[in-house]
Amino acid sequence: MNDLSASSRITYGAVPVQAAVVRRIRGLSDKVLAWLFITPTIVLLLAINIFPLVWTIYLSFTNYRANRANAPVKWLGIDWYQTILTDPDIWAAMQVTAHFVFWTVVIETVIGFGLAFLIDKKFRGHGMWTTIILLPMMLSPAVVGNFWTFLYQPQIGLFNYVVGFLTGRSASSFQMLGDVTLSPWAIVIVDAWMWTPYVMLICLAGLRSIPDYIYEAAEVDRASKWRQFWSITLPMALPFIMLAVLFRGIENFKMFDMVNLLTGGGPGSTTEVASITLKRAAFESWRTGYSSAFAIILFVTVFGLANIYVKALNRVKSR
C-alpha cells in the first residue's frame, strides 16, 4: 500500500522523471543502495581528510614552499625527516611537549577524579558546585590566556599576591611567565585549571554508571569504604578515567593557543611546544615541505601512542 501510494504521488506529480528514478531505485539491491547512500560521505571524507593527508605526505618529501608557488618543486626524499629527527631543537620541543602533557594529564586526572568523587556524593547544592566547577572549560582559550596573563602579572596579578601572601615573599619577586623554571608550570597550572572539569565530567559519568546494588552487596559483605573504593569504584571507573586521559593526552600534545598567548614559547625556548615550532615553520617561515614532514612525525607519534593506549583501554574494559 505504501509503495502504491508513493508511486501514485509521484506519477501525478509535475515531474514524471522522478517516478522513473524511483522505479530504477526499487530494482536496486540493498548493497548497491547502501553504496549509493554512503558514497557522498566517502567522497567528502576523501576530500577533506584523506586527500590533505596524502598531499601532506607528498609535500613532506619535497622542498615546496607555499609562498613560492612558482618555484620548481624538488624531490628531497627523506631529507626533511632526517633533518627533523636529528635536530636538537626539535627534540627539545618534544621534551617540552612531553613534560607539558605528562604533568597536565596527571594533575587533571587526580584532581578531576577527586572532584567527581566528591560531586557524586550528592550533597546539598552539588548541582550548583558542578556548574561552578565546569565554568573554566566553557571559556575560550583566548580569554583564559589573557585572563591568566593578568593574574600572573608580578606587580598587579592576583596569583603572585596570593602566593606572596602565603609564602611571605614579595609579590613582585618572582615571575611566573618570565622565569625559565616557573614558566612551564605556569602553563600547566592554567591548563589544569581549565580542563580539570572536563576530566571530572567524564569520571562523574563513570561513577554514576556503577550500579548501586554492587555497593549494597559490598555493604552486606561488610566491606570497608576503602575496600569498596579499591575493589569497586576505581576498577569500574577506570575505563572512563583512561578515556579522559586519552582525550586530554591527545589534546595537550597538540596544545598551541594557550602557550602562544601566555609565553609565545619563551622565555627563550623554555615553553616552545611542538605545535609552536610547527606553526612557526609552516606559517611564518613558509617551509611547507619541512613542516609537512614535522606534522607527519607528530601525527604518527600521536597515532601510535593513542593506538597502544586504546589497546590497553580495551583490555581494561574487557576485564
Binding site: G266, P267, G268, S269, S285
Partner: protein, 443 residues
C-alpha cells in the same frame, strides 16, 4: 622594519579590524588599501578623502591589528588574493614579495610619472622600496618613515630632588643620555625609586619572544657596538661581523639593561606593553617606534610637557633600528590602474606635507629637509636624526626564518639566561648560514 605584534590598546582600537570606506562617488571605482590598525592609519583615512574628491575613486580600508597584520596579509599575498589593491607592507617583506611576483614593479611607472626616488630620504628608499637592496629596482613608494627612538619623563628629570640625587650619585646632571652607558645609569637610577608615593622603574624595552620584538630591541644596541649583518665586501659572509667582539658587548649591554632596569614581568614586552608601562607612569624611559610618539604627546597623563623624546644614544658608533613601510601595488589586484593613480597622488608634494601634518611620517625630502621641519613637532628633530642613522633587518625572502633564529638565540641569552653572548651570536651565525645554504646562497 615594523612589527608583527601589537599596537593594540587605544591606538589600534580606534580603528580595530575590518573594512571602512570613505565617501566615494557612487559611479566610480573603489580600491582597497591594506595596512595595520594604528594611529597613522587614521591619518591616512583622513588624507585619502582628498584623493577620492580629486579622482572620484572610492577608498576602502582593510586595517588589521599588529597582532595579526603579518599573518593576515602574507596569507593574502601567498594565496594570490585580490583583496588588497594597495598594501602598506612591512619593509622586510619586499624581498619575498618581489621575488614571488606579489608586488608590481614600479620602475616604469615612476619613470612615466616623473616620480624620482631621489626625492625621498635614502634610508627609506633602501629600506622600503628597493629589492635587491642598493639597486635601482623599486617595488614600493616610501610611505611611512619610522625608526626606534626613546621617550622619557621630562617632568621627573626636571624635579630638583631627583636632579640632586642623581648628581650626588653619578657626578653629572640628569639629562637626556648621549650614550648607552648614560642611558643605563639613568634607568638604574630610577629603578625602584619612589616618585609621588609610587614605585617606578627604569626603562621599558623590547623583549617579546613570539614575533620580532626582542630583535627589534636588541638591534639598537648591537648596531651601536659594531654588529653588521654581513661583510660589506662579501655578501652573506657573517663570521666576525654578526659575532664580532663589539656585537658581543652590545648583546651583553642589552642584557644588563634588561636585568637591572626593567619593570618586573617585562620578559615579553613589545610595542603595546611599552606604551602601557609609560602611560601608566611606571617607567622613566621607553623604547618604542616614532609612529607612536604623536599619540603619546597627546596623552593627557604623560604627554605635553611631561614627555620628552630622544633618538637612540651612541656606544662606539650610533645607529638605530628602522621601522616603517612602503606602499605597493599588489600584482593580483584587478584595479592596478586606480591603485597606481593613488600612488601618483600620494607622491605629490602637498599631499606629503599634509600627511606629516595629520600624523603620518612622510619620507619625502621636501618635507623632511624643510627648515621648519625640526620645530614642527617635539619629536620631529629626533625623528630626522634617527632616519639618518637607521639600519634594517634582512629583507631577504627568507627573512622570517632569519628573524626566528635571532628571536630564539637572543631571548635564550637575554631573558632565559642561557649561555653567553658569544655563544648566542656564534649560534646565530650558524643558524643564518644554514638558512642561506638552504636558499642556495654562496658565501
Amino acid at each position: 622594519m615594523k612589527a608583527l605584534l601589537v599596537a593594540g590598546g587605544a591606538l589600534g582600537a580606534v580603528l580595530g579590524s575590518g573594512a571602512m570606506t570613505t565617501p566615494a562617488q557612487a559611479q566610480g571605482k573603489t580600491i582597497t588599501l591594506c595596512w595595520a590598525a594604528w594611529d597613522p592609519a587614521n591619518a591616512l583615512v583622513e588624507l585619502s578623502k582628498d584623493f577620492t574628491t580629486k579622482t572620484g575613486i572610492g577608498m576602502k580600508f582593510e586595517f588589521v591589528p599588529w597582532t595579526n597584520y603579518a599573518d593576515r596579509f602574507l596569507n593574502e599575498l601567498n594565496s594570490r588574493g585580490s583583496l588588497c589593491d594597495l598594501l602598506i607592507g612591512d619593509s622586510q617583506w619586499i624581498g619575498g614579495a618581489a621575488e614571488n611576483g606579489q608586488y608590481v614593479k614600479l620602475n616604469d611607472f615612476f619613470k612615466k610619472e616623473g616620480i624620482s626616488m631621489d626625492d625621498y630620504m635614502p634610508a627609506t628608499v633602501v629600506g622600503y622600496a628597493q629589492w635587491p637592496k642598493n639597486t635601482p629596482n623599486y617595488w614600493a613608494l616610501p610611505a611611512m618613515g619610522d625608526a626606534v627612538g626613546w621617550t622619557y619623563r621630562k617632568d621627573w628629570f626636571a624635579r630638583p630632588d631627583v636632579q640632586k640625587d642623581f648628581k650626588a650619585k653619578y657626578g653629572r646632571d640628569l639629562a637626556v643620555p648621549k650614550t648607552l652607558d648614560e642611558l643605563r645609569d639613568i634607568a638604574q637610577f630610577f629603578q625602584g625609586r619612589e616618585i609621588d608615593g609610587k614605585k617606578v622603574y627604569g626603562a621599558s624595552i623590547y623583549t617579546e619572544r613570539g614575533s620580532e620584538g626582542i630583535t627589534m630591541g636588541v638591534s639598537n644596541y648591537l648596531y651601536d657596538y659594531g654588529f653588521k649583518y654581513q661583510d660589506p665586501n662579501k655578501p652573506y659572509a657573517m663570521d666576525g661581523f654578526v659575532n664580532s667582539p663589539g656585537a658581543v658587548k652590545g648583546l651583553e649591554a642589552y642584557k644588563e639593561l634588561y636585568k637591572c632596569c626593567t619593570p618586573p614581568g617585562a620578559s615579553n614586552s613589545y610595542m603595546s606593553e611599552g606604551l602601557d608601562a609609560f602611560k601608566s607612569g611606571q617607567v622613566a624611559l621607553q623604547m618604542n617606534f616614532f609612529a607612536f610618539f604623536p599619540g603619546l604627546h597627546k596623552d593627557p597623563n604623560v604627554g605635553g610637557d611631561k614627555i620628552g623624546f630622544f633618538s637612540n644614544p651612541a656606544a662606539t658608533t650610533r645607529a638605530t633600528q628602522l621601522g616603517g613601510q612602503g606602499i605597493s601595488v599588489v600584482s593580483y589586484s584587478k584595479n592596478q590602474g586606480e591603485a597606481l593613480q593613488y600612488i601618483k597622488w600620494f607622491a605629490g608634494g602637498d599631499v606629503q606635507k599634509k600627511w606629516w601634518a595629520l600624523g603620518g611620517y612622510s619620507c619625502a625630502k621636501s618635507v623632511l629637509n624643510d627648515p621648519s621641519f625640526p620645530d614642527s613637532a617635539p619629536f620631529a628633530k629626533e625623528f630626522l636624526t634617527s632616519m639618518g642613522m637607521v639600519v634594517d633587518f634582512w629583507a631577504e625572502p627568507s627573512y622570517a626564518q632569519l628573524l626566528q633564529a635571532e628571536q630564539k638565540r637572543v631571548h635564550d641569552y637575554v631573558v632565559a639566561d642561557k649561555g653567553t653572548a658569544q655563544e648566542a651570536l656564534d649560534g646565530l651565525v650558524k643558524d643564518w648560514k644554514a638558512i642561506f645554504k638552504e636558499e642556495g646562497k654562496k658565501f
